[in-house]
Symmetry: C3
Subunit: 327 residues, 3 copies
């Protein structure tokens, strides 16, 4: 299927600069541009590509000023990233989509599966699991007994929902297991990446609220709760019973102590270690233990000078002693 610059501009409510009849039939990154492809420019870091791209059409923000003429046809829009997202969604919606429970999946007889669900090969759905309508579960996923998955949820391959929380009580001989009799609840519109683990609670439930997006290889321990529309990058880890607010953003490899509470709209930098409650909505934190990013980056800059500072303090001490003596 081919589309012209004019057709696309109408769809995304943009304005064509160049050849209205330029046609495309695929997408390409701006740096890998080729004839017949549409690209987009959103990150200003990549602006130099606009002059060399071979793509036939490029979506670009209204307010970007170019220093010289370009060969490609531009479509000016308010938000190029949003527009390309809409075009990709259109493109995706045209592709046929697998649905149904694959015959190579295992679904316990007592599980309740909604309408228009996809469950891939080698995915295990345990006893009394509930899965809402329009949910997609890729291959090799394991969902333990009793967990509840909402509507329009996506779970990528290899992810494990509802394994036992990590609970052991020490005794003289070793550790006794504390049975984990709770469940995991994944609410509507959640997307979970590949090989992520969300443990069932000791009692009650581990809850991933509506609209949360979790990347790959994330650890969510027992009794945790992640608030609506919070987004976590890969390899983040939450210790037990920690509650993350709504609309938070968490960078990759960050870790959270157990039994803490993070306020809504908190922004946690990558590799941070958060060890206590946070208060403020909209707060930013980075480092381990996590602090204000302004303080963190200033302190980090001075870090390199620590050995010099140490030496200088020694010299100042010496000179002061001499001044004292010579009085």
């Amino acid at each position: 299927m081919e589309f012209t610059a004019k057709q696309i501009a109408e769809y995304v409510q943009g304005r064509v600069e160049g050849n209205e009849n330029a046609t495309i039939n695929t997408f390409a990154k701006i740096e890998d541009g080729k004839e017949g492809a549409i690209s987009f420019l959103s990150n200003p870091k990549y602006i130099h590509y606009i002059y060399e791209t071979k793509s036939s059409i490029v979506l670009i923000n209204e307010d970007v000023e170019l220093e010289k003429p370009v060969q490609t046809t531009l479509i000016r829009v308010k938000n190029a990233y949003e527009c390309v997202a809409r075009l990709l969604q259109l493109y995706e919606s045209m592709k046929p989509k697998k649905t149904g429970v694959d015959p190579l999946a295992f679904v316990a007889p007592s599980a309740k599966i909604g309408k228009n669900v996809y469950i891939g090969p080698f995915t295990f759905i345990g006893e009394n699991v509930q899965i809402g309508d329009d949910t997609r579960i890729y291959p090799n996923v394991t969902i333990y007994d009793g967990c509840q998955i909402g509507q329009r949820v996506t779970i990528h391959a290899g992810t494990v929902i509802g394994a036992d929380g990590f609970g052991f009580a020490p005794n003289a001989a070793g550790y006794e297991k504390i049975p984990q009799i709770g469940i995991v609840i994944i609410e509507d519109d959640v997307e979970i990446g590949a090989n992520t683990c969300i443990d069932r609670s000791t009692m009650g439930q581990t809850v991933i609220h509506k609209g949360v997006k979790l990347d790959n290889l994330i650890q969510v321990a027992h009794n945790c709760e992640i608030g609506e529309n919070t987004v976590m990058s890969a390899q983040v880890g939450l210790a037990g019973s920690t509650k993350i607010g709504a609309w938070c953003m968490v960078g990759g490899q960050a870790g959270f102590s157990g039994h803490i509470k993070i306020a809504d709209k908190t922004f946690i930098g990558a590799q941070s270690g958060v060890i206590s409650n946070t208060k403020g909505n909209g707060e930013q934190l980075i480092g381990a233990p996590a602090i204000d990013p302004k303080i963190f980056f200033k302190a980090q800059a001075v870090m390199k000078k620590l050995p010099d500072m140490y030496r200088e303090i020694g010299m100042l001490r010496k000179e002061i002693e001499e001044l004292k003596k010579s009085k």
Copy 2:
């Protein structure tokens, strides 16, 4: 099934404060309490819930002093956490448990499987693998050829035991693979979380000793050894040939360099980086590189003042120069 406060108190050797005939038929977290549920209070952080919980019975430590009367029935015990563990174990033992090799699992003909073993769907058991009695292996686990799993071991979904250790020798053209001909030995009473990886050794064996508890997404490299009853939280990583002592506790996301030795009963904080041998039994370490927690937290507290310190040192220098001149 229903139990009265009196019956429970007898079972856990506790003392009822309140209505001996209060009945329960389920468990609930104290903050999610409801009629007919038993809860427990162990973490002093949550003490305020005791006054508002709707649970019919709460297990609580003998020595906790309450400031005002409570509506729920209390059962006073030496260790509430241990008692709830025993009750959960009782509850769990009443549930029917799946056993046997699921027809959707793959077990190599040469593998030796003990008695009363559960092996879930889509789990792969390679050639010459040995699995001891009463061991449970959840779905989508992979156990490579030749690995040995003890008795009463639990392995959660998605975990991989015995993949090749990461060994390559550089040459001019790239890297040559060093075949990994060793195995993994998992001793009795070990529990391993979901999506954890324990690599086979180059030669000899990677060993997880008796009673070890490993959480999810942990990496144990080739030729490592983890001592009896050591506990590791999620996302910990061990580089090759490292030996961890017995009864250690390792916090989440901590990492260990290769070829080091950690003494028994060492306590390693979350996100630590341990790069050298440790000596003392009972030592505590945190940070990267890991140091004494007292020093670490003091240094971290001062970290924020680093830019101020840097400025102050510059000012002291200036003032000393002036004092010298004015002499």
Copy 3:
């Protein structure tokens, strides 16, 4: 099968010191030596074992000077580690190897599978996937639609290739998914560990170049590129669109920000956080944010003295004020 010291010395072009007719039929680590085994000594840390090992033969570097006589037979070689690698390869090549697509694997009808390929049970190969000759894919791997795997590639159990990149655009109600229509390309001679995730790109491709070796539990985000013969230890994470050069070495648990470029032959220490482009070939970096290791370790050493420094600065200030007053 048995081999004599003489035969082995010929194969690895070494020189026998001791009994030419000593025979071995297996391998053992030098510390676990036993009669009939060959061991090697490469790491100088383990040199004391040479005097006590029970192995019949030990491969050792030409230039290692011993302080006292040994009981074992030595084979002196240029590079003991390389020689043991060659012997292990010989040993491995004698073992029968499984090939073919296991009947318990799922391979989409439109996938193209090369010659002499092994695909293990419960591995999922999606539509239009291409897999080159002599490639081995262990059990429980998932390869999403359209991804391309080269020749002589090894992919260990539980790894996920081509799950959706983590792309969402915020709107007032939550996040909209940005469809990920690109693919993953794994070039020839790549080895990928267990439970690692390599995401498909938004458009275009995520590329793992020829000869790359990735350990377990690694996260490679959408649109990343890893240069030829780069080696990464377990639990490393790359955020989106980052490009790593050729022949780099990356320590375990290190993380990379998105949209950065790492030069060839860069050496990144374990647990580092790399947040900006690197320039120099052969550069070494460690820490978070990553800096020159010499500066890092010096600064870390001083770190412990920070509280003392802070106190000392306060005292210097006081003494200077007194000196000023007393002038």
